[in-house]
């Protein structure tokens, strides 16, 4: 139940740098999700907390104590691995209690914790089975139970749900949140699945190519992305982002222009930024078959059925835009007029790819 702090942490294997200048504070008791695509350094970051990887330079503090050279076993960390790492030769109860017995926890205490965990995770009837006789979901719960009974200060999870099928994943992540609400350890959870991240996290730390991109609440990561990577990584289908020319009260795409709201024009003027990229999420675009004021003209390339809505892919002056619509009346090859909602747009610096922020009046937009 203690804080974890990274200060200028670097990690490299030989010449390849996998984590670059990581500065991050994980608050005590929070659920922090390390999110990012394959190879972004998120698992390495987690493993450095566990002490399973050395830190190349910089420092990690746990509970205000520098832990760079503290062995894994002394960090009071419980961890759930992607492959669950259950001991194949021990039954469920032995898997759960083995660590405690080695640590010489009193027998009645082991019993109390174990029974609570078995109850909570509905594993009672399986306690004498070997891992090979359990389903994937049951194995995952055993791994969870083993981590829970340890009652460590830190709870680390490395893609704990990625080997489960989609339905189980939903119930398993609810269970996970429930467990954490009970024990309130400092929880760090690695995943590449943004839905998991959005639903589980108190805060999301998004990583890309070894660099931390943004750390904030799920809402802010979604609605106030700090840079173009964050904006396009989170959300499916991804945000439309195109470079634009800034004019006094409008922005120009290749040839068409879009008038900005007074708030946005004022905000852009205040920041003094010139080369901007414009972003809008697919669900924040209104479509029309007839010309409407302040819209861009293009044609529909194809339409994807997503069940509860349709993804409409359009060609607008050679750029591919995606919009979401609940209506099925959009047909390929037809002309379409699109209108991004004025209060939902995003603006980024073309060079740095960082967000230029949002007009004050919109700041608490969500």
């Amino acid at each position: 139940m203690k804080e974890i702090r990274f200060e200028h942490v670097y990690k490299s294997y030989g010449k390849t740098e996998v984590v670059t200048d990581l500065n991050l504070t994980i608050q005590k008791g929070e659920r922090l999700i390390l999110l990012g695509p394959s190879g972004c350094g998120k698992s390495t970051t987690l493993r450095m907390i566990a002490g399973l990887e050395d830190v190349s330079s910089g420092a990690i503090y746990m509970d205000q104590q520098k832990v760079n050279h503290l062995p894994s076993g002394k960090r009071n960390v419980a961890m759930v691995f992607q492959n669950y790492a259950l001991y194949p030769h021990m039954n469920v109860i032995d898997n759960i209690t083995y660590g405690l017995r080695v640590q010489k926890v009193p027998a009645d205490e082991i019993k109390r914790r174990t029974e609570a965990a078995l109850d909570m995770l509905q594993l009672k009837e399986y306690k004498d089975r070997l891992p090979k006789d359990l389903s994937g979901g049951q194995r995952q719960r055993v791994a969870l139970a083993r981590a829970v009974v340890k009652q460590g200060d830190y709870f680390l999870l490395d893609e704990p749900l990625s080997n489960l099928d989609a339905q189980l994943r939903v119930s398993a992540r609810k269970e996970l949140v429930k467990i954490h609400e009970m024990y309130k350890q400092t929880l760090v959870y690695v995943t590449h699945d943004q839905v998991e991240a959005m639903t589980v996290a108190d805060r999301i730390a998004l990583m890309y190519k070894g660099k931390l991109q943004m750390v904030d609440t799920p809402d802010n990561v979604y609605h106030r992305p700090a840079n173009i990577f964050t904006a396009t990584f989170i959300g499916s289908p991804p945000m439309n982002v195109f470079n634009v020319d800034v004019q006094p009260d409008s922005i120009r795409f290749t040839s068409q222009t879009l008038k900005l709201s007074p708030e946005w024009s004022q905000h852009i003027q205040q920041t003094g930024e010139k080369d901007l990229a414009f972003g809008i999420r697919p669900e924040h675009i209104d479509l029309s078959k007839i010309p409407t004021p302040n819209s861009l003209k293009g044609h529909i390339k194809f339409v994807e059925n997503h069940g509860n809505h349709y993804g409409v892919y359009m060609d607008i002056e050679g750029n591919e835009w995606i919009a979401m619509s609940e209506s099925k009346r959009w047909l390929p090859h037809e002309t379409v007029y699109i209108k991004p909602r004025a209060d939902k747009i995003h603006m980024f610096n073309q060079q740095t790819t960082d967000s230029i922020g949002y007009p004050k009046s919109l700041n608490n937009g969500e």
Binding site: S72, G73, V77, A78, Y87, G99, V102
Partner: protein
């Protein structure tokens, strides 16, 4: 895909023929060992004992201290096996679960010992064992054989299949290496340890070249050395006794093999695949 019978039947015949060539001498020896010398000599093709007798075995037991010889063989094979498995286990564990300077070089060095011919090391080893006063003793046979590169190779192969995360979970629980070895790695590589051990036992039981250099007194002999005494290039006047000794020599390895056949074949099949 189906194979044409006209192709498969001749090949099956070839396999059966090879198996007969390979196993017939064993059956033959067992049969002859229960025959009187005269019968065996006059009916050389008939290996079924028509008048079974134990006289060949009796001759052997009466002429040599068989209990001593068998126990010498047993002591050597057991000690050598236990040590080889132990040292190989430790070394394999180091090679699989640690990352240290010179790891590849050391591994290559150890494995290269497989390719050093016996003749290159025999004189110095013989001198060393003599200087240690261990000549003509079972300990002189045992001492140079307490480690084995093949064991390291086989156990390393097997340990490499253990997911590293199992070891990491244990590390997070503050388990030391001795505990990890004993409670996690050993149970998981038990089949490989068992078959490697059995293999070492069989090899040592059959060992001839090194003991024949070291052991001089008949009472210190192992079974293969005792058996050798019954060979003469003329075919021998007492070859039925020789067959009885041969049967005694091979009975332990054969029993072990028949009991643990699956393990042994599985482990050895993998030894060639690096």
């Amino acid at each position: 895909m189906k194979t044409n019978r006209s192709v498969s039947i001749p090949w099956h015949m070839i396999f059966i023929g090879i198996i007969i060539i390979l196993t017939f001498p064993i059956i033959f020896a067992v049969g002859i060992s229960f025959k009187p010398l005269e019968d065996a000599y006059n009916n050389a093709l008939n290996f079924i004992p028509t008048q079974p007798t134990l006289e060949n075995y009796e001759t052997f037991f009466n002429s040599l201290n068989v209990v001593k010889i068998v126990s010498n063989t047993f002591i050597i094979a057991t000690t050598v096996t236990l040590f080889k498995v132990f040292t190989s286990f430790l070394a394999a564990y180091a090679f699989v679960f640690f990352d240290f300077k010179g790891k590849n070089m050391l591994y290559f060095l150890l494995i290269s010992t497989i390719f050093i011919p016996f003749s290159v090391t025999m004189i110095p080893n013989y001198l060393m064992i003599s200087d240690l006063g261990l000549a003509d003793s079972v300990w002189g046979v045992i001492l140079p054989q307490l480690a084995d590169a093949v064991g390291i190779l086989l156990l390393r192969q097997s340990m490499k299949t253990i997911p590293i995360s199992l070891i990491e979970v244990a590390r997070l629980d503050n388990l030391g290496h001795p505990r990890i070895m004993k409670n996690i790695v050993l149970p998981l590589v038990k089949p490989a340890v068992t078959s490697t051990g059995i293999w070492f036992f069989i090899l040592s039981w059959n060992e001839y070249v090194w003991p024949v250099l070291i052991l001089k007194t008949v009472d210190h002999y192992t079974l293969p050395l005792a058996l050798q005494m019954y060979i003469s290039s003329e075919g021998g006047t007492n070859f039925t006794v020789a067959m009885a000794v041969a049967v005694i020599t091979m009975i332990i390895p054969l029993t072990l093999y028949l009991l643990f056949q699956k393990y042994i074949i599985g482990t050895f099949a993998s030894s060639g695949i690096k």
